[in-house]
Symmetry: C3
Subunit: 153 residues, 3 copies
């Protein structure tokens, strides 16, 4: 049996963990637009001219409580898709399932914390910097392991 | 033969449908920068100072007809990559090919409609809200099925 | 052996090249936030009110030298994730490893050039337009090959 069939297998706990934690990260990203809409309604901030009537406004404007959630969401877009890629590649290096699961778990917790301290209850720095850095470091580690393992330039 | 080799197979119509419809969604995303450039040229809206000469402008400015397309594009970035992930994971739960194909098809149509009513011919709400919600609900359903199937926390 | 097991194999140089070059693209995307933070520190531009104290500022503001890097980063988000998808699908069409590797290599170089001329040393147009177009054309070609090969509507 090839290494890839061994890795991409429902018997491989690292692979099942990858699918589970990546799903929880997609779930997190799906919560962001709901939070944004909630704040748009609360503060009356339409995103597009054709929405002004719904929000009882005459023109578009920015509001910090909406922008904050949009920044957190953009930060997700900058970080989570590259985790999906780096995590899948890292599985192909045949890591110990225990290490892999712990990395996926820690990454997921760090990203949930990042959103919480950024967009739900604002907690002073370095809370956001730390949670962001943990995710960044894990992605970087998985990437480093992948490049060292493949090196097919 | 393992479930994964059965799923990731050119004989599996759900997998082939996933590839085809995901490709059509990538194609949709590739149309967005072309639309943006078209509007930038039409209304003379450079994105960066070094482009001002091309557009015969002295400084940067925003224009609603450009921002509209950028919002539609950003909405794609928020929604379509997580569909790629959720769709691939959903295939691993071994769904009926018929259901899977219908979900992929509906999602793709909903996203094309979303872009059309947002950025091509502006149609009053709730056109955009409905097309967005259909895509969101399909991603959510596939995610729910995946998490329930894997549960490898 | 199925085509998919043949493609997704560590013996397939096209697959190993895909993993290697995609990793280099993830690496490129991971450099962007570091460049952004460097410019934020240099020009004193906080992104969120709770960061104002760190930057010794009373309120948020925009700065062209920060926005430039954010535009380059957003351009990555618009282009590189769809390359990951289109590249993976293209592998399933069983291309010649030599062609595939050259496409991945050229795409990666073009995207590194794009960031360089956009956000590191600003080089007048059409430098940025050309590097962007090369990446766009490669993604489009791989997508065209995929859709023609699968056609499972």
């Amino acid at each position: 049996m090839s290494i890839i069939s061994k890795v991409l297998s429902l018997e491989n706990p690292a692979f099942c963990g990858y699918v589970t934690y990546s799903s929880l990260l997609v779930l997190k990203m799906m919560i962001m637009p709901l939070l944004t809409v909630k704040q748009r309604r609360k503060f009356g901030v339409p995103i597009s001219p054709e929405d002004c009537a719904i929000y009882n406004r005459k023109s578009l404007r920015l509001h910090e409580e909406v922008e904050r959630i949009r920044r957190a969401h953009l930060n997700d877009l900058e970080n989570i898709p590259i985790f999906f890629i780096a995590g899948a590649f890292y599985l192909l290096t045949n890591p110990s399932p225990r290490t892999a699961l712990n990395l996926f778990r820690t990454y997921t917790i760090a990203r949930y914390c990042h959103t919480f301290v950024y967009a739900v209850v604002v907690i002073p720095q370095p809370a956001r910097a730390i949670s962001w850095s943990i995710g960044f470091a894990i992605t970087g580690y998985m990437l480093f392991r992948t490049i060292r393992h493949f090196k097919a330039f």
